[in-house]
Amino acid sequence: MNTQENKTVGCRKAWIAFVAASSCLLIYVMACVMSPAGWSPDSSKIAILVTPPGEGDNPKEFAIFVYDTATGARTLLDEVKADGVLSAPAWSPDGKWIAYYKVEPSPSEQVGPSSEPNAAVSIGERPGNTPEDKPDRSAPSTPAEQLFSEENQMLPSFMFELAEEQVKDKNDVETFDVKLVTATPDGKYKETLQVMKWVGGDDDRKSMVCMRPTWSPDCKRLFYVRAIKDESYTASIDIATGTTYAHLLGSVATPAVSPDGKWVASYLEDDDTLVASRIDGSVCKYFKLDLEIGDDRPPMLDITFWSRDSRKILVVDKDSVLHGIDIASGQTELYKDPDANSIAYPVISSTDKRLYYLVGFRTGEEGPPPQTISLKRMDLQGKGTRTIFTFRMPELSDEGGGVFSISPNGKIVLLRAIIKDESGEGKSALIFWDGKTQKIVKTDRWLLKPLYGDSNLIFEEKLIGKWRGEDSRITIAKGTQEKTYKLTWVEEDKEHHAVANLIRLKGVTFLGVFLDESLVEPGSHLLPDVFMRVAQIEPKLLLQTIEYDKLAEVLEKAAESIRPEDIGAENIAEFERAK
């Protein structure tokens, strides 16, 4: 073979190798890119209970929103005002339903029309079902039946009777009505499955925000708790027939249902006992523990949860060590992360069946939380651990620590907390981390209803310029968007920035100030942080601060135009045009 032939053969082989290698690489890259991890429905959206800012432990308004983490769209599912209460919401495993408890405001404080008590009601049209198909789910009429209306499946059966007698013997038992509601995530259909009497007072009503019902894995049954004095019992309702069953006594507000749908578990705090009962009422097991798991623990936490094979109940003790109690043998196995001092907010992933948890944050720990927190994963079989990602905590307000949760697919960490905004004020926020990005969603505005529309926006050239007040200076310039102003004010040598709209409402001009400039965007652009009445522009600029609630009230009362006396003359600041 001569040199030329050698070259030709070599070249041909090289081409084959080149094409083979590049094709393999291309196929691999395409396969990897085209098969991204699928987001389960319940990890793409969150259902969240929102209360107004600054009302602490006694909020006057509750609302449940469904928030799409990808698009940022939010849907109001339900709301109550005055002394009404909503519980935390619970998604059904198929992602089609959301269940929650609801306490309607007492008649004296009721703001809007309430649905009839002690009756099952529905709003909208149930998807895939006709109204005729609905079973009669009216609540029992006599008080005794209303208190313990479920079919007894507790073992031993006398426990239910004992609990019943405890309450029935007393005449001055304080009760309130709790509705068990299911709704579609779009809020178009709502149904009250059950109206039940709870024994307790105001404190028990308030504690409802820290509990939620639990769905069975097949979504056919909903598990709930009923408070009876200091204890509660876990019951369930068959959604198709409306039949209710009492399963076990427990102190945990959120019952744990096994993934195979055969067991329900709870925990008796006083006796430090774990209770697991078969849902058909055939077996009930009591496991005496020595864990003191109820101490110093926020009630929102799911204290007990099941392993994916439904063989073990997992419990995190006071030292943040995970205990796995085998329900067949009663043996306890310890799961500990060797690199971390705690296992916080554990969740078994719906996708890879592993345990995801947070480290670096110790529940109930005194003092400031650590700067960085890691999402970790533990293989319950081999007990090997891995850090998924680490994130930095934002600066939290002194008002509250915050509550974490991990998405069911183990990919997103959510913190609900009050953070400090640019001006140092506390703002309720949802902070999402997915390992790559941090997303902050402020929720205080969610409960506000826009007081004006786009048609009320006006623009006054005269407002633009530099203004000097008694102890502050304001510079008003034209904003980047249409009919917006850019505000810069200096107070005590500190410069602040904001965006504002000028609004004409019932004959009065207001300046709607957005302290966070990013809020001039669709969905939030009609909800300013502060309203200021522009009493006069020339020769002196007179601005009067007015609270959102007061303005709403004035607007509601004013028939055609707002009179100055409706607003009053307080909080007026005077500014002269600076040369």
Binding site: A14, A21, C24, L25, Y28, C32, T372, I388, G435
Partner: protein
């Protein structure tokens, strides 16, 4: 880092639950892709140091192993078998090694039109096996929880990516050059007959004219000479 993550977002699903976190930093690619790009980067550096890119394609024994590594990828890559992060990293590493071991010499040979300046000797083959053994041992200790390892890993991943881009661009340039040459040569072939005709005509005509003039001149001279002579 966001630029690198953005770059790799076109090449990897970037599933955070299947990505290594090194010293608190999440790698911008999944575990298998991390293995793939690191394997490519490390192999490219190895080939540069050994000047393996100037030699012929690897010997048969190495090619067989590389082909076996390429064929093994579907088993792991399409999750037919997924024993865990270490295996994902390993499958990526050997796959990346196989790709670059074939791609780089192939690109070199193609761009030199089959020419090569050296061939594989026994020591160079032995060194490949040592290198291959090292690659296979990487999942046993990787990822080391150190910031240095994180940045080194990123660097090798970028090198691996650039290596592929370089090889593809070398071959593309060669192909474009070849294409232009062939276009030019084919154009020449089409132009040549016309040119030849033109040139020959010109020559002929020129010759003819010059010949005619010459003859005429000769005749005149002859006449003159005759005149003068006679």
């Amino acid at each position: 880092m966001s630029v690198i993550a953005y770059l790799f977002s076109f090449l990897c699903s970037q599933d955070a639950s299947r990505s290594f976190a090194v010293a608190g930093h999440l790698l911008p690619v999944c575990q298998r892709c991390a293995g793939l790009y690191m394997g490519m980067g490390v192999t490219f550096v190895y080939l540069l140091l050994k000047r393996g890119y100037r030699k012929n394609l690897p010997p048969r024994s190495i090619v067989y192993v590389n082909v076996a590594c390429l064929l093994a990828m579907p088993i792991f890559g399409f999750h037919l078998l997924d024993p865990g992060p270490a295996w994902r990293l390993w499958s990526g590493l050997v796959y990346g090694n196989a790709i670059v071991s074939l791609l780089v010499p192939a690109a070199s040979i193609i761009s030199n039109e089959g020419g090569k300046t050296g061939c594989h000797t026994e020591p160079s083959t032995t060194s490949f096996w040592i290198f291959f053994a090292f690659l296979n041992s990487v999942p046993l200790w990787c990822p080391a929880q150190s910031v240095w390892f994180y940045y080194a890993g990123l660097l090798f991943m970028l090198v691996g990516l650039l290596c592929v881009a370089f090889c593809v661009s070398v071959v593309t340039v060669f192909l474009i050059k070849k294409l232009l040459m062939s276009v030019m040569s084919s154009a020449k072939l089409q132009v040549r007959p016309i040119l030849l005709k033109k040139i020959s005509f010109m020559i002929f005509f020129n010759n003819y004219l010059s010949g005619y003039d010459t003859i005429r001149c000769h005749r005149k001279e002859k006449i003159k000479k005759r005149f003068f002579l006679f």
